[in-house]
């Protein structure tokens, strides 16, 4: 028998705002990896140009044992704070870390199948601690089904974390997937990485929203569209509840602001399952959400404030770190809802600073997403307007 060496795990973060996309990615990658043999490189960028060059730079920057995943974002941040129009790279490696990745292309209309297949494909790393990190296209819709599909495969033994790829222009999101031989820039796909570690892995989540006013019953809905609350036109009830005139319904921009400030919360045992309203139809007075809303559900309007949002980010990270059961974190990845960034505006830096706090000096990096994934307890894993943290010990 040889000498049993203690397993090593490292977590590196790099970022760059170099004007050339390829250079930026190369710099961020090099910085994150720091000349080590990484098991996985995660690349996040809010740029919508030069994605192919970034993919190539990522490919060129990794070794033969490194898997590459990533996505476009509403914004990304490094320990130093928000990285404006740049690239953030997170690398994880060491002898105590193993990674297996999978992708399901063209997942539109086959969300459950996509979730099932990527979870089946990644299989197992054989490490005592595992987390399934999922990066679906944020524009796919029906993300709950992706998570249900994945959960049906991995079961309660493996937590899930992740965020949906976003896009500043709201046109098309992108995902990175590959390794040192080739990195693809995809759209409409579901990317997954099963990260196995000898050290503990913790997932935390918090949103900072609270119910506002009395609950309402969804008396008429169809898939993602709500026609009625309490047997009255949904839009009218909504505007009345927040004390706004019905005429605002025709003002698209004003309605967008309003619906982001007052999302819908579906009653759940452990809190509210938040639904972002992204479209209102003044013609039939209906409202359309990002995810399914079932007839018969009980719902509240949700509200928040700057402080609650900032606190929730810290709460999420703290929860993740505490899940490490005392093990010193080596790094944290945060998946934060893009709406939070928009609502916080100049408070983003403060939020980031607060998220970093519980990490006990370990590097924290992440991106602003279009839907967050965290399954820690129970079977639900898809969330909105939420801050999810993934801590590695």
């Amino acid at each position: 028998m040889g000498v049993v060496r203690p397993s090593t795990r490292w977590f590196g973060v790099g970022h760059s705002t170099a004007s050339d996309a390829g250079d930026a990615c190369a710099e961020a990658t090099a910085s994150a990896i720091g000349g080590r043999d990484a098991a996985i490189l995660l690349v996040f960028t809010s740029r919508d140009q030069g994605l192919a060059a970034m993919a190539e730079a990522a490919r060129a920057g990794v070794g033969p044992n490194t898997e590459v995943v990533g996505c476009s974002t509403f914004g990304e941040f490094a320990p130093s704070g928000l990285v404006s129009n740049g690239v953030v790279a997170v690398a994880l490696g060491g002898s105590g870390v193993s990674v297996r990745t999978a992708v399901y292309r063209n997942a539109a209309g086959r969300q459950r199948e996509a979730g099932t297949e990527v979870a089946e494909t990644v299989g197992s790393t054989g490490r005592p601690h595992e987390v399934l990190v999922m990066i679906p296209d944020g524009a796919l819709g029906r993300h709950h089904e992706i998570i249900r599909g994945a959960y049906s495969i991995v079961g309660a033994g493996i937590p899930m974390a992740g965020g949906c790829a976003a896009d500043l222009s709201y046109v098309k999101t992108h995902q990175f997937y590959g390794d040192h031989s080739r990195v693809d820039v995809l759209s409409g796909s579901v990317v997954a990485a099963l990260i196995g570690s000898d050290g503990p892995i913790g997932v935390g989540m918090a949103h900072g929203w609270r119910p506002y006013g009395e609950p309402m019953s969804l008396t008429s809905s169809e898939e993602t569209r709500i026609y009625e609350f309490d047997h009255q036109p949904a839009l009218d009830v909504y505007l009345r509840r927040i004390g706004r005139d019905a005429s605002i319904a025709n003002d698209v921009e004003a309605m967008k602001e309003l619906t982001l400030s007052y999302p819908l919360g579906l009653a759940r045992r452990s809190g509210e399952d938040i639904r972002i309203i992204y479209f209102v139809d003044p013609a039939d007075r209906s409202m359309v959400c990002f995810a399914d809303v079932h007839q018969g559900a009980l719902a509240w309007l949700m509200e928040t404030d700057r402080e609650s949002l900032i606190n929730s980010g810290q709460q999420s990270c703290s929860q993740a770190v505490s899940s490490l059961n005392g093990t010193q974190p080596i790094g944290v990845i945060a998946f934060n809802c893009g709406v939070r960034k928009k609502m916080l505006e100049d408070g983003v830096s403060e939020e980031i600073a607060r998220i970093v706090e519980p990490a006990q000096g370990a590097p924290v990096a992440g991106f602003y997403s279009m839907g967050e994934i965290a399954r820690i307890r129970g079977a639900r894993g898809m969330h909105h307007l939420t801050s999810v943290s993934l801590a590695f010990g």
């Binding site: 959960y151 049906s152 309660a156 019953s217 759940r268 559900a297 009980l298 129970g378 639900r380």
Partner: protein
């Protein structure tokens, strides 16, 4: 607010679970949503002892401890998952099943347990509902299957009915003698209709024996091309039975079924069905195709029989009935005719001038003319009348339910129609028709007899001047016999001993002096005595003797005139030329030879032709007359006013003289019309600088009138009767006693315009 949460969650749960399509899906959704609603990691649905859905263990089976005694509940430590608190609820009435939920670390509180029971009941309800629906669906499907089977049965009956109807339509088409291509199209279209509109192609061997076979008809959608169809057809024809071949045309698998088509045990083609594979394998279609191939055989056999019949009973040139068919239908008509009315009438038509067309323009033009004449004859008939071509240029029409008067009417209609010019190969041609009309007589029982009587009447029509219709009379029979005898006698008489010439002087009406003679032929029959030219000239023309006879007349009279001119210088000679003679190719040369041989100067000779003779073959006539004019010979139009009397030929032909027919002269003093006509002819002659000669002057009134009209010359009994040669010279010398030979000659020559 948790009480709100749980109640409303049940509603949402029910709406999701019951909205699923089938039981399996409903159970899976029920397990997943139950776990999600209760924040449980695990949910299992067990129905009838089997795990139907399991959430939370990934690809692993749920622990046996969890499922074996699910209702018992309790805690269960699952490695990798944690310490599970398990709870179970029954699905309720009629469904032996359990919904099990297990949560890590936290047991369900009372309200959550209540909700679990509610969820289980709702799943039970949903499953029952789905099972009821499923049962109903199965029942409905069974009913629908039954209904479908009934429909299929009905469809099979209808298909059979359609097949019978289609076959009947084809039979009707065949029996009504529709054109063969139409019948083929009905067959392929009918067969295609029975195979859901797929392709049916009829391939037939080229009658000329050329390769490849001909596609005679096609209908419907196709899976492959003509080449594949021909290959299939060839296989069926070689095998002499139905063959099937697979194809892969246009990317879709298909089947060709080809059935051979036979006529009198000879393979003549194949009917090919080009079907998609699913239809091509049905034995039924093979039977259907064979049935349709037999229809093609029937149609072809029928047409071949008809063709054979047509060949036997129709004239191939004109398509009219032939003599055999005519006699047959005539026999039937006679048999069926009413003995009281005898209403069967036959018209016998013979073309006048056809031989000249045939001789001058060739057989092709002749054949075309006959076809056109047949068409014109047919256009003059009613639907039930039968027209036949019974000889070269002879046609017979049988009219049923028509008497003699109707027969005359039809005959005259035909004569008028045929008289119109024909345009053949860019040339205008004229023929005339003579018609004999004969109605069945009470005594007549024989088709041949009736035909013969109409023939006799036609003959009479020709005798009476052509282009006319004559009704049969019994006396004609005797006449025809006499004529037949005469014909024999005429043949026998060739040697000309029985023929002689008389000469009738032509007199200047102004001076009363003779200026020349017209040579007239006489036949002195050894038994019958003198036979008038009107009786034997036509026989001579028919028998072809006319050529020798004409030459003899011209030679004799020219020699005679030349002799007379020694004593009577300036004497002119008029000789009649028959219609047949002017068309002879060597006629101008013969005239030149005779003039040279007899020493008669050409300007002393005038050839008399009838209008009909000029019009029979105008081109030949014109050409020959120009040659004669070059010789110096004069041309006279005989019997002017009885024929075409066309001003254009007077202008176009080299004519010097017109002779006014004796019938006009005879009636001139009684008929204003005839007088007008004579005056017109005289005026016309003056205008065109033509000499006018009046024939048949028999009294002084006529003479006076003609003198007054300004007619130049005349002939007739009043002036001088035809005389034998020895009497001619004394006659002339008597009329010119005081003239010297020279002055006589001058005077006589002055009487002629061409002199």
């Amino acid at each position: 607010m948790t009480f709100h949460w749980s109640v409303h969650h049940l509603t949402e749960y029910l709406s999701e679970v019951s909205g699923q399509q089938d039981e399996t899906l409903a159970i899976r959704v029920a397990a997943e949503r139950a776990a999600e609603a209760l924040d449980a990691e695990v949910a299992v649905v067990i129905v009838a002892g089997k795990v139907r859905a399991c959430v939370g263990f990934g690809l692993d089976d749920p622990p046996a401890a969890l499922t074996r005694n699910a209702r018992a509940g309790g805690t269960l430590l699952v490695p990798g998952t944690g310490n599970l608190h398990t709870f179970a609820a029954d699905l309720g009435r009629d469904i032996e099943g359990t919904l099990v939920v297990a949560r890590v670390d936290e047991p369900l509180v009372a309200e959550e347990l209540q909700m679990l029971h509610g969820m289980a009941k709702m799943l039970g309800m949903a499953v029952r509902g789905l099972r009821t629906l499923e049962a109903e669906r199965i029942l409905r499907e069974a009913r629908e299957r039954e209904a479908q089977q009934r429909l299929e049965l009905l469809e099979a009956v209808r298909a059979r009915q359609r097949l019978v109807e289609t076959l009947l339509e084809i039979q009707r088409a065949i029996s009504s003698r529709k054109p063969l291509p139409d019948i083929f199209d009905i067959i392929t279209s009918g067969a295609s209709g029975l195979v859901e509109g797929w392709g049916i192609v009829l391939v037939l061997t080229d009658p000329a024996g050329q390769d490849p076979p001909v596609i005679a008809s096609r209908n419907g959608n196709r899976t492959c091309d003509d080449v594949a169809v021909r290959v299939g057809a060839a296989a069926a024809m070689a095998a002499k039975r139905v063959v099937c071949q697979t194809t892969d045309g246009h990317g879709a698998d298909g089947v060709l079924i080809a059935a051979p088509v036979l006529v009198a045990e000879e393979i003549v083609g194949s009917l090919v069905a080009d079907l998609p594979a699913r239809l091509g394998n049905a034995a039924e279609w093979r039977a259907v195709l064979t049935a349709f191939a037999q229809q093609v055989s029937l149609a072809l056999t029928d047409v071949r029989t008809i063709a054979a019949m047509r060949e036997a009973f129709h004239d191939p040139l004109t398509g009219l009935a032939n003599r055999a068919l005519l006699l047959d239908v005539l026999e039937q008509a006679i048999g069926e005719s009413n003995p009281a009315t005898n209403d069967v009438t036959v018209i016998y038509i013979d073309l006048d001038g056809f031989k000249a067309v045939n001789d001058s323009s060739g057989h092709q033009a002749g054949d075309e003319l006959l076809r056109l004449v047949a068409t014109r004859i047919s256009s003059c008939l009613r639907a039930g009348d039968v027209a036949a071509r019974v000889g070269g240029d002879e046609f017979v029409i049988m009219l049923e339910h028509a008497d003699q008067a109707a027969g005359i009417e039809v005959a005259e209609r035909i004569i008028s129609a045929v008289k119109e010019p024909f345009h053949i190969s860019g040339r205008e041609m004229f023929v005339a028709a003579s018609a004999g009309v004969a109605q069945k007589r009470p005594s007549c029982t024989d088709a041949a007899e009736l035909l013969s009587t109409s023939d006799i009447a036609m003959y009479q029509a020709k005798q009476r001047g052509r282009g006319r219709a004559v009704v049969f009379e019994p006396a004609m029979k005797a006449a025809i016999h006499a004529r037949m005898e005469l014909q024999g006698d005429l043949r026998r008489a060739t040697g000309f001993q029985e023929f002689s010439l008389q000469y009738q002087p032509i007199v200047s009406l102004g001076t009363g002096r003779p200026i020349g003679v017209e040579a007239l032929i006489r036949w002195n029959h050894p038994q019958r005595g003198p036979v008038p030219p009107s009786e034997f000239i036509s026989i001579a023309e028919e028998t072809g003797i006319i050529r020798e006879l004409s030459r003899w007349v011209l030679e004799q009279s020219a020699r005679q005139a030349s002799e007379w001119r020694k004593a009577i210088p300036g004497l002119c000679l008029n000789v009649n030329v028959s219609a047949r003679q002017i068309g002879f190719r060597r006629f101008p040369a013969e005239v030149a030879e005779i003039l040279a041989g007899t020493g008669l100067p050409s300007h002393a000779l005038t050839l008399e032709l009838t209008e009909t003779a000029l019009m029979l073959d105008p081109e030949a006539a014109l050409s020959h007359l120009r040659e004669l004019r070059e010789l110096g010979v004069q041309v006279s139009v005989d019997d002017f006013g009885t024929g075409y009397s066309s001003l254009s030929y007077l202008r176009n032909f080299p004519v010097d003289e017109v002779k006014i027919d004796r019938t006009f002269v005879a009636h001139m003093d009684r008929s204003a019309d005839d007088l007008t006509l004579v005056r017109a002819i005289v005026d016309l002659g003056r205008s065109l600088r033509l000499q006018t000669v009046a024939e048949g002057i028999e009294n002084t009134r006529q003479l006076t009138t003609l003198r007054e009209l300004g007619c130049g010359l005349g002939q007739g009994y009043l002036l001088a009767q035809p005389m034998n040669p020895p009497d001619v010279q004394p006659y002339f010398l008597r009329r010119l006693p005081i003239l010297t030979r020279a002055s006589t000659a001058d005077n006589l020559d002055a009487g002629r315009p061409g002199a």
